[in-house]
Chain length 536, copies 2
């Protein structure tokens, strides 16, 4: 049973077919636009004087949404009511920086302020809350309204929660994925194979893309990789690549680089691919919800929009990974396969070892060191990072019909060990714009040592992420954690397990205190070392 409360006044403003096509006189009265130097992040805020006749006549309420229009420009904003003429006088409409920029009109422009139409697609959200199944048209209407800034954060939260957990059937995830992809631009590469890889995340130091892209591109397969920056982790691929090269590339330039080098390692934020996801993340993150349906749609819609034809998906499994049980991993893989098949992406999902961080470094500069050691075939290179990168590259190379099933790993190994991958990486770096100076690891350091003898039988991915982030990563490129011991290694009491690097005293103190409190390492008997899920 679900009732709909109708807000009559607001509802009516927009649903009565007036014969003259207009509204009542008071709503049409114009206000003079004023830019206020107030930063309201991604939210539009408008400021009206409490004695302003428009405010009084139209029955706006503080904190309600208003619609601001002039010369075919339109934005929605949250209304704050000001009783100080020096900020906003009656007859003026103040806008926060973001709102002012988005409206894109000069100060002094005469604007009309009005009640906004409530987003029509909220009906679909209410149907979802009531237990209905939504179709493609519903998801399309919802994503469109979100992009057009018609949803408040509250409404977005309602949508996300309604879709969370068992809320979405796999068919709905498919529709949602298509709708998200259709909400933004689409890239078209005009090639039979456009490869991509994606990891669902959660594993510190897991910088395989920076190895997979040069290996695959060196083979000649197209792999236009765009990545995000870290949201809750100490480094995203874009943050790490940025240590070596420019990652903020115009779509046109990106396209040229990929044509020339067969691959790239760029930040995905400049192209408007499935942009609805970037808006929803501002609600998902503070709520701490990240449901399967949202994750699958978010990943696959971006790939679809990016023009990928073949995708290798990395699902790390481990006690402190995002996916903690094989059953979960398998069911997640099946959803990805179901949707992938139906949106025309050849998708393979592999379940990988997510028991501990990959490589040694955690944080942009430290991860760059690991990646370069692998590319340079240095004896210091972390073996697990190299193995994982070869495994993933091998599977991607096998998308090429000319490569025999089961031989991809060997082909990848030859490309890497021959130095061709390093060469390709250098070419990509030059093409994107080489950074002249690579920062050093943070100068403030602290070593966390074993408090007893034992074998390393647990490394908490979450805790290592937290410590590295607190130390300043990814903003301070040299900040992070450098691991000396990995699962199965023997540590004697007092022997260093890892080193914290930071650049600023306050961050350093925070990170050290956290590590002193809970190191993230467990030492125990050799029998307690958990099994590698890849070996099941």
């Amino acid at each position: 049973m679900q009732y709909l409360i109708l807000e009559s006044r607001q509802f009516l403003m927009f649903n009565i077919p007036f014969k003259n096509g207009g509204r009542s006189a008071f709503v049409m009265e114009k206000l003079s636009l004023k830019r206020l130097s107030i930063d309201t992040y991604k939210e539009n805020v408008a400021y009206m004087n409490g004695r302003c006749p428009v405010y009084r006549a139209a029955g706006f309420q503080a904190m309600s949404k208003i619609k601001i229009t002039a010369d075919h420009h339109m934005i929605l904003a949250v209304l704050n009511v000001v009783h100080d003429d020096s900020i906003v006088a009656p007859g003026e409409l103040g806008l926060s920086q973001q709102a002012f920029m988005q409206l894109g009109l000069p100060s002094g422009t005469a604007v009309v302020v009005d009640h906004p139409e409530p987003p029509a697609s909220m009906d679909a959200v209410r149907r979802k809350i009531a237990g209905d199944r939504l179709g493609y048209r519903d998801f399309r209407a919802i994503t469109k309204d979100i992009i057009e800034n018609r949803y408040s954060k509250m409404e977005m939260a309602a949508f996300l929660v309604a879709c969370a957990e068992t809320g979405l059937e796999r068919r709905e995830i498919l529709y949602y994925t298509k709708a998200m992809a259709d909400s933004g631009q689409r890239l078209e590469w005009l090639e039979p194979i456009v490869a991509d890889k994606h990891c669902i995340g959660g594993i510190p130091g897991n910088r395989t893309s920076m190895l997979v892209v040069p290996i695959v591109a060196a083979h000649g397969m197209l792999i236009p990789k765009t990545s995000s920056r870290a949201i809750t982790s100490p480094a995203g691929t874009a943050d790490t690549m940025e240590v070596l090269a420019e990652v903020n590339l115009e779509p046109k330039r990106l396209y040229e680089i990929v044509r020339e080098e067969r691959g790239c390692l760029a930040w995905g934020g400049t192209s408007r691919l499935a942009p609805v996801d970037d808006i929803l993340i501002t609600v998902e993150r503070p709520l701490g919800i990240d449901a399967t349906g949202q994750m699958v749609s978010s990943i696959l819609s971006k790939k679809l929009a990016a023009g990928s034809t073949h995708l290798l998906l990395d699902i790390p499994l481990g006690p402190t990974a995002k996916v903690r049980h094989m059953q979960q991993a398998l069911s997640l893989r099946k959803i990805f396969e179901y949707v992938g098949d139906r949106i025309g992406i050849h998708l393979e999902a592999i379940i990988t070892d997510g028991r501990q961080p990959i490589g040694k470094g955690v944080g942009p500069v430290l991860e760059v060191r690991d990646v370069m050691q692998v590319l340079e075939n240095s004896p210091e290179a972390p073996k697990d990072l190299k193995q994982k990168a070869l495994k993933l590259s091998g599977r991607i190379l096998e998308f090429d019909p000319s490569i025999r099933g089961g031989t991809g790993y060997q082909v990848a190994k030859e490309i890497l060990e021959s130095g061709k991958a390093l060469e390709k990486m250098k070419a990509i770096i030059r093409a994107q714009g080489e950074k002249t100076k690579i920062p050093e690891p943070g100068k403030l350091t602290y070593e966390v040592c074993a408090d007893s003898d034992g074998w390393v039988c647990g490394i908490d991915n979450f805790q290592i992420n937290r410590i590295a982030r607190l130390a300043g990563a990814p903003l301070d490129k040299g900040a992070g954690v450098d691991l000396f011991k990995k699962l199965g290694d023997r540590a004697e009491k007092g022997e260093p397990l890892y080193r914290i690097h930071a650049e600023f005293e306050s961050d350093f103190k925070f990170a050290v205190r956290l590590a002193q409190n809970t190191s993230g390492y467990s030492l125990g008997a050799e029998t307690e070392i958990p099994k590698n899920p890849e070996e099941f």
Copy 2:
């Protein structure tokens, strides 16, 4: 499958047991409090200068929540970042009017700004989203955090949606009801029977409380009725009673009146009974969700907090009522009974005729006229309002062990027709504070007429509510709709069906246009008149 994204920096600020018990030095730096004349309704907003060292050092983000403390006062507020020293200078912290009042400290006070602890009870909300059953402790923690202003609107939306529809089992509704009641004050009347009535709403003109209270109180039964103002309807009992008497009474005064007169008709907003509901409504309403669990908990928690021992619940059933099918009505009644029994309220729920408005007037002044006509036993008095009031009063009177089952209606009728109810109403009005001047119905009038001959076989409750609201009710006391024809009446073409009353030209135009477009009346054959559900 549900993943938790951890915001490390924020998380850590509050969970590391620092040995000195404090935070790092930069967070402790103080800012000078400044009151800004900005009205942000129920939301607290704080303003910090972008060049303020505290802002830069603590890593706050615009639109994030911050905690402001000084001298054991604490509030949470959403941060806006200002780049205009004349609004807020570096070293100052501006607060919106609401936030300033809530903090309750003078301008110039040195305040500390900090990252807030995320509300711990959001874990329970996330468990609910993941499909878990919540217990009393969970609901208690959630309601406590909401009252303490720790939830953003986004977080409240997540909670409400997670609990909507099939989301709450009846046992959870019970726990939630108790938790809501425990979140505020509790009244104690020290009498064996403290009667109350409640209607789930949606029917225009349904002002039975103003008849039931004087009848029941005249019998000597305690009935301390507090009501809400209209939220989406054209009049709540508090709005209508306000035409005759003061309704905004201090709790102490209310108590004296009830002791003296055995009843009252006051606004419930001044006593803090189950206040969490008043906060959640600010999210529920714009989202347009009103789920069963929330409704039941909201109603019963307020009754429990108000000290009611006996409650009669009115569930109107009809094609344009909130409840449209008998099956719905019965299942709703069962939930009410289940919870009522377990919180120690003797509850009876009756399903009533909700096919059309009750009485003739819709809007405060017009409804007062109907009520007074019934009390005065005027031949003009609307029969349906009188019958319904007697029926409800009779059922309540039967809570009295000395009244034989089935005779309550007759007792109520005698009290009403003898003039005792009118006498009691006058006494209550005097006690609450009589209004010297009763406004007239709005002077701008328009009659909506039948466009064909026929029997009235449908009156749309929603549409009549909308028209009355648009005409200005409940703010303009004299605005509303006066019905001349009811279900089953015969109307000839051109005969007036109802009259719109308004006080202001613009409202009047809106209401008339809406009525011209859709009158809310359907005329048809005598056989099309829907059956009264009370006669099933």
